[in-house]
């Protein structure tokens, strides 16, 4: 690094220390830009792929009301993907590059979406637990040092709240329903609880990116701290449903005023991240098919725009 860069980097860090936001045209270290592009595009991919497990239940929703709600939620997730892609584009990466990275399997997305949605209670559990975990993460990101990311997160958080509430309401209905319905709800918690805890990423001591990201204030709260926050908020909600989370080590700790709990199966986590989850291949294939299938629409719309432009020019001439 030469002297000029060192000066710039010092000025950059003192801006961050002073809680000033970094905006697209400001100088930033290459690694800061790269970290953000990786994190924001992964985040965007997660929103987009996240539509697929829920999409599975659109035609099977138990009532018109539930169908309309689920459709609205899924549409929001598509919107979240868009906010995030466009925020990432301010860093100089193109939309096509990001799509290419997703479709080729080079980019990651949250591994929770590689689990299947087996029955209607899963839609409740996803809204409550998966969106709940996402909200915990995203609230912390609203104070991220990169302006466009922070602003996108504020918009996203405003919209997320209904996602979690509609999910919890489904869980309430099912746990107050027939014996079979209550069992379905419990079964859904059993399958989604641990993957939801995995959404916060590796333990702090094993997380490669954490300390630099904290210094740059891309990340404001550590993985373990956010995960604990989620556990503490969610266990009482499960109690209220009369359901349990599948962890026999779970116990209230008077001293820390929070829950002690067991250990995540990190082998499973790594395995799903590596592409061997139940639905990895199916999700990516569906994404690719949707993108390729929409190509003629994009081409036609662009051709129409070109033709209109030409007509206007001819008329003016």
């Amino acid at each position: 690094m030469d002297e000029v860069d060192m000066e710039l980097e010092k000025a950059f860090q003192s801006k961050i220390d002073a809680e000033l936001k970094i905006e697209p045209k400001d100088w930033m270290p290459d690694a800061y830009r790269k970290t953000l592009v990786r994190q924001m595009s992964q985040h965007a991919h997660s929103e987009v792929v996240g539509m697929l497990p829920e999409g599975n239940w659109l035609t099977r929703a138990p009532s018109l009301k539930r169908k309309a709600i689920l459709m609205a939620k899924i549409q929001d997730e598509g919107g979240h993907g868009l906010y995030l892609y466009s925020a990432a584009e301010t860093l100089g990466v193109s939309r096509d590059e990001m799509y290419e990275q997703l479709h080729s399997g080079k980019a990651k997305y949250s591994s929770i979406f590689n689990y299947p949605t087996l029955n209607w209670a899963d839609i409740g559990a996803i809204g409550w637990l998966v969106d709940g975990a996402a909200i915990t993460n995203q609230i912390a990101l609203c104070r991220c040092s990169y302006g466009p990311y922070a602003r996108a997160m504020v918009k996203v958080c405003k919209e997320e709240s209904f996602h979690q509430r509609q999910g919890y309401e489904i869980m309430m209905n099912m746990s107050n329903g027939t014996k079979e319905q209550k069992e379905m709800a419990q079964d859904a918690i059993n399958r989604w609880w641990w993957p939801a805890l995995m959404m916060f990423g590796p333990h702090d001591k094993n997380s490669d990116h954490t300390s630099q990201s904290m210094t740059w204030k891309i990340k404001r709260t550590s993985n373990d701290e956010l995960r604990q926050r989620f556990v503490d908020a969610t266990v009482p909600q499960a109690d209220y449903l009369g359901l349990t989370v599948p962890d026999d080590k779970l116990a209230w700790n008077e001293e820390t005023q929070s829950y002690d709990w067991g250990e995540i199966d990190w082998d499973e986590f790594r395995n799903v991240v590596a592409g061997n989850g139940l639905c990895n291949r199916e999700r990516l294939q569906t994404r690719r098919d949707a993108h390729d299938g929409g190509k003629w629409v994009r081409d036609a719309a662009l051709a129409y725009a070109e033709k209109q432009k030409k007509r206007m020019a001819d008329k003016a001439a």
Partner: protein
């Protein structure tokens, strides 16, 4: 149609939204669309799903001319030494009352 995938990317539009009458349009984000009309429709779907707006502007991103952060010093400097543009520059006795 261009061969290269990035070249065939739909143009980028910046989106500005007036949340209610009486307020300025404010930058909301951006999106890709083949033309201005579709950009408007998409902006409605992406940025105003919960009646966040009563008016939308879309502007092709390539048509936005922006100052650059390096300008900070020189670009704004001409105003820095004109303190007489601020009301606090003038000493008006308290007896005169609020002015």
């Amino acid at each position: 149609m261009p061969e290269n995938s990035t070249e065939s990317e739909l143009p980028l539009y910046e989106v500005f939204i007036r949340s209610k009458n009486g307020l300025h349009h404010k930058h909301a984000g951006s999106l890709h669309a083949p033309d201005a009309e579709m950009a408007l429709t998409n902006a409605r779907d992406v940025y105003t799903r919960r009646s966040e707006g009563v008016s939308i502007w879309v502007v092709k991103a390539t048509d936005v001319v922006a100052s650059s952060p390096e300008d900070k010093g020189n670009f704004y400097e001409p105003n820095d030494d004109k303190l007489y543009r601020h009301p606090t520059f003038y000493n008006i006795p308290d007896e005169v009352g609020h002015m």
